[in-house]
């Protein structure tokens, strides 16, 4: 059974969104996605959300957010890892044959959140929390481990962060951060050795919604034109323990990619664009080595350095991937892009990974 993407939208990239409340942001994005798809909210029969209570600052945040995202008198579920994980569940629900049109929505107003305490709250209370593990320290441990495993030097991580910022500077959907020279990034202070401050993608505010449809829905609604086919998804997770062997292995990263490619029935070489969620330049350096891929296919949008609303970043990567295979990626469009994939990671030191593969439906590729 084929599943199609029929509409996408993302909130304009913003470091601090002051004009709209979170629910207004998400409402606007879901409405834009529905308009992009040419369907009405009343036709939607299920909604899958990807969001985090702790980052949203309230228990059961989907109570407030489900309706703005499109979920009123519809079947609704929330996953908490990643917006891209919500896409996986949304796809599974459509593949049951019991649904026809679904929304997948994710968001985060990072500027309203004290991120470090939230990350510290993710530490188990017996060992991780007392020794001060948080997101930054975990990324530092990851950087150290993959540096040793793959021989990655600090300069490469800085160079990759600089390159991502340059790519993002060409992307009209990106934050508009100033491009930085690698030397300036390399001169920034350590935050968790060997990780330096500017090697990290800064958090931002954002939201994204994707409209998925079944083949049956498209047959019954011929005016709705698909943007892309969602061909495969995969996800996997590593041990919670951040021992060196776990951090070096990138096991769940490789596993998630393997599962998605198998489902899509393609090889990695067949992908024209790979939108990676790389919280730091170290992550990207490790990813290209683990996958054995060239830099020129990596995150034309600027990836995580283009915008980084936590939890939602992976779904924004998926939007970028769909825009690529539908020939609508604008200034960062890769000519002839037929297949693209988006990746997301979650948990301390990329504990969990998610991948989704998209394919052009033909006739729309630039």
């Amino acid at each position: 059974m084929s599943i199609y993407v029929v509409g996408v939208a993302a909130h304009p990239a913003t470091v601090v969104e002051k004009r709209y409340r979170l629910e207004e942001m998400v409402f606007r994005v879901s409405r834009a996605a529905l308009e992009n798809a040419g369907v009405s909210r009343g036709q939607v029969d299920h909604v899958t959300l990807g969001a985090c209570d702790e980052l949203d600052g309230r228990p059961i945040s989907s109570m407030l957010m489900a309706a703005p995202a499109g979920g009123f008198m519809t079947d609704e579920m929330k996953v908490t890892d990643s917006g891209l994980m919500a896409l996986c569940l949304g796809m599974a629900r459509l593949m049951t044959g019991e649904f026809g049109l679904g929304l997948v929505s994710s968001w985060c107003k990072s500027s309203k959140t004290d991120i470090d305490p939230v990350m510290r709250l993710r530490g188990e209370p017996f060992l991780s929390r007392p020794i001060g593990i948080d997101g930054t320290v975990a990324d530092g441990l990851f950087s150290q481990a993959v540096g040793m495993e793959f021989g990655i030097e600090e300069e490469e991580a800085s160079r990759r962060a600089a390159a991502a910022l340059r790519r993002a500077a060409s992307n009209e959907r990106a934050l508009g951060h100033s491009a930085l020279e690698a030397a300036a990034i390399q001169a920034s202070p350590y935050v968790a050795t060997p990780l330096r401050d500017l090697q990290r993608a800064p958090a931002s505010d954002g939201a994204a919604t994707m409209v998925l449809a079944s083949e049956r829905f498209l047959r019954n609604n011929p005016h709705v034109k698909p943007l892309a086919r969602l061909t495969g998804v995969g996800w996997s997770i590593d041990s919670y323990q951040m021992g060196a062997s776990r951090l070096r292995s990138l096991a769940s990263f490789r596993d998630a990619w393997g599962r998605a490619l198998t489902m899509a029935n393609i090889s990695l070489e067949m992908l024209d664009v790979i939108e990676l969620e790389s919280p730091t330049g170290w992550h990207e350096a490790a990813a290209v080595r683990a996958l054995g891929i060239d830099d020129d296919r990596i995150s034309p949008s600027g990836g995580t350095f283009a915008q980084n609303p936590l939890v939602c970043t992976g779904l924004i990567g998926a939007v970028e991937a769909v825009l690529q295979v539908s020939g609508q990626a604008g200034a960062v469009q890769r000519a002839g892009a037929r297949r693209a994939a988006a990746h997301s990671c979650h948990g301390f030191a990329q504990q969990g990974n998610v991948v989704a593969c998209f394919e052009s439906v033909g006739g729309q590729t630039a």
């Binding site: 079947d75 929330k78 994980m85 593949m95």
Partner: protein, 395 residues
């Protein structure tokens, strides 16, 4: 494809489990279900983790912490969180993975540790809108008390009528080794229990329970391999209502909060999928998500077991009794006796499926062909239903 339950496990539920950590609780459930299924972790294709707000426990994303304990490393796993409806939504998510062909077998597992917070009500108070509703003050108790008052006024039902439910549930729970509250009590005991938010009194309200649960489902081939008497998942449905309770009580509301009408829409779709045209005659066991004494009646009426306003009268006539009743309502004692929020919906599903599989022990109702389980979250904003059957209706 037929999707069905292979095995399940649940802990004894009580206020706290100081002898175990959260991940040990989750592991106990996962191991229990695997042993019951005679499966190993390698036989599990994917895991769905059942975990509602982590503010109760104080460890965010505790599902990540539990990965090793539940044999999840290297497997596809995600967490579902729809408030109190979480456990029910988890069943639906796992079903989607199997029915879609993404997995042959799925382990659902979760744990609740609500007593880690001194007052769960203070956490729950934060679910309400900060600008309009939180200062009223709305709480889970006051919002249900408002609905209960209106229901009483509409249908002439009394506090004593609701107390019957409490008496029956606590008596049923005496046969449930996992139940938190149980025992022989009287209507007078309920009436004399301390007032919380009138007409709700202490005994009209569920306890705060801790514990863990797990269930394994599989596709047709897995069912043939691991279970000779599965409970087939024949119907599923869920809906999300408006956040605003005020919008659920106006004359033009799509649903009426005072009568808990959202389940009407949910059950209609679910019964259609499960081939149920007359629930009163075709469903033998109903494991409702009923943390308050009024909510079983409301669901019985909304789901079409009886006409609006008649559930209390039928209760007096014994219609909902385990022995001799037409439909055994919450033979486990239901949510009114045990409410480990993260897994309550999953426990409801386990208790319903067990009745089909003939593994309900002393709670077993005779000749059960169809059993339903519900789950609600976010002050009734989210509601879902699953119908289990002895025979598959989808091949």
């Amino acid at each position: 494809m037929s999707v069905g339950v292979i095995a399940s496990w649940q802990s004894a539920f009580r206020t706290s489990h100081p002898d175990k950590t959260f991940i040990e609780q989750a592991q106990e459930a996962a191991v229990g279900a695997l042993k019951a299924a005679k499966m190993t972790p390698d036989d599990i294709d994917a895991i769905v983790f059942s975990l509602a707000p982590t503010f109760f426990m104080g460890v965010a994303d505790a599902d990540h912490w539990a990965v090793d304990a539940i044999f999840g490393a290297g497997k596809p796993i995600f967490r579902v969180h729809t408030g109190g409806a979480t456990g029910g939504s988890v069943v639906h998510a796992a079903y989607a993975l199997v029915e879609s062909g993404m997995a042959r077998t799925v382990l659902m597992v979760g744990a609740e540790r609500i007593a880690e917070t001194p007052d769960a009500q203070k956490v729950l108070n934060l679910i309400f809108d900060a600008f309009y509703e939180r200062d009223m003050p709305l709480s889970t108790n006051t919002s249900v008390a408002l609905a209960m008052s209106r229901y009483m006024q509409m249908h002439g039902v009394t506090e004593e009528d609701f107390a019957q439910t409490v008496v029956r549930h606590r008596r049923n729970a005496m046969k449930n080794p996992h139940a938190h509250l149980k025992g022989e009590i009287t209507i007078d005991d309920v009436m004399k229990s301390p007032a919380i938010a009138l007409p709700l009194k202490l005994f009209d309200i569920c306890p705060r329970s801790s514990g863990s649960a797990a269930m394994i489902i599989g596709d047709t081939a897995s069912l043939k391999r691991y279970q000779t008497r599965p409970a087939f998942i024949n119907g599923l449905s869920g809906l999300s209502d408006t956040y605003w309770i005020g919008d659920r009580i106006t004359p033009i509301s799509r649903t009426d909060w005072s009568s808990f009408r959202l389940p009407e829409y949910v059950s209609r779709r679910c019964f259609e999928m499960a081939g149920i045209s007359d629930p009163f005659k075709q469903i033998q066991v109903a494991e409702f998500y009923d943390p308050y004494s009024c909510q079983a009646y409301m669901q019985l009426e909304a789901d079409g077991f009886c006409a609006p306003g008649t559930a209390a009268r039928l209760d007096r006539e014994g219609a909902w009794d385990v022995d001799g009743g037409a439909v055994a309502v919450c033979p486990s004692g239901g949510t009114l006796c045990t409410n480990p929020i993260a897994v309550t919906g999953l426990v409801r599903a386990i208790d319903a499926a067990s009745q089909i599989m003939g593994t309900a022990g002393k709670m077993q109702v005779k000749n059960v062909r169809n059993a339903l389980a519900t789950a609600s979250g976010g002050i009734g904003q989210f509601h879902c239903m699953t119908v289990f059957g002895a025979e598959p209706v989808h091949n």
